[in-house]
Symmetry: C2
Subunit: 219 residues, 2 copies
């Protein structure tokens, strides 16, 4: 019974994700879903990315959090429109929540929409939101074994960003090992290495992202 219910929920989510996709296509919006464990650097990467992209593209952000609006306030400081979703306990965003949030945004004025998911390396991967690309961030202090211990998020993503590379000295994180593990889990992954603290590596990621926006939907 439980399995049947879960399937129904996922099927209903897929339908709403397709509706979101149609909305995004109609308005010519490129959509990026950002996933990671709590504290891996989703908001930091987002702030760095917005600093580079906003001169070229009108951007907006949907912030997903269980409670509070700390992240939305950080985004507001960059001068980018944002909508806060509070899931009220739920461990992931779903397409219905995103659909509801879209009514608060001026869709005709947006070229790129970032959706920052709830910090959780497990559950969000099951719920498509209508995005063009999915990005999962792994921070070096989490350890390079997380790629094989929590494979679904990486398998369901287009991009892996290895963040906090400035902390890699003196901790047990082997970047080459991580890249190999990631490609074993998902051979199609685009992999970037960033330090959102120093800014190192952010250019390469935003250049690639801009190329994806220019070429339309990721295939």
């Amino acid at each position: 019974m439980e399995i049947k219910v879960v399937r129904d929920i996922l099927a209903a989510n897929e339908m709403l994700a397709r509706e979101n996709r149609e909305t995004f296509d109609k308005h010519g919006i490129f959509v990026v879903d950002l996933m990671s464990s709590p504290g891996a650097g989703k908001t930091s990467l987002l702030v760095r990315t917005l600093e580079q992209l906003t001169p070229r593209y009108p951007c907006a952000v949907v912030e997903g959090d269980i409670t509070g609006d700390v992240d939305a306030r950080r985004i507001a400081e960059v001068g980018v429109p944002s909508v806060q979703i509070n899931t009220g306990g739920a461990c992931h965003l779903d397409a219905r929540m995103v659909k509801a949030a879209l009514s608060s945004l001026s869709l005709d004025d947006i070229r790129v929409l970032f959706i920052e998911n709830v910090g959780n390396l497990v559950c969000p991967a099951n719920y498509r939101l209508g995005e063009d690309i999915r990005v999962t961030i792994l921070s070096t202090p989490e350890g390079d074994d997380k790629l094989t211990k929590y494979p679904l998020a990486f398998r369901e993503s287009d991009v892996l960003v290895i963040n906090k590379t400035d902390l890699v000295e003196g901790i047990d994180f082997d970047i080459e090992q991580a890249r190999q593990s990631a490609l074993t889990v998902n051979a199609q992954l685009q992999i970037f290495q960033t330090s959102c603290r120093t800014g190192e590596g952010v250019d390469r990621w935003t250049d690639w992202l801009a190329s994806q926006i220019e070429s339309g939907r990721e295939t």
Copy 2:
């Protein structure tokens, strides 16, 4: 409908958690549930704790992972019996999984059982397993704002371990701020600070844990 189903699942879990509790009481086993985000240091804290406790108490470990047995192998190296639960995708342990795992352990020979939950700061907090105490680990690279952004795990825990204190220099983590936030979320929290890398602070935590084991169930 979805809410009703979730309530049924939680109610069924509570019932099984009580059955586990009865089993633990019957065998005089003190049970610790360890929760955290992926990579916060559950297994590292467990290894450090076992090194200190096993000379005094026969210990065993139930390892919860979505897939694989990396952590159980680390525990085996310490010479402590362990059982691996693979949730097969599920984002948390539940009482039924733990109940099934108990059949693989020699309960009469165990005084302290550690249950390492799936790495997830959100979902495990909803599922009691029959434990005496719940410990949530927050690692400094995750950021001190996680206490207020993901309050449930801290609210439902008896202990907060702030881990990776050796990394606190040069990152945005204010330990005093974290302690204040934690106590605002849950005034009853016992708070410890550890570096499982250097071993700093582990004694204070294990001394306290031993006192809890001696005094029986945490009240």
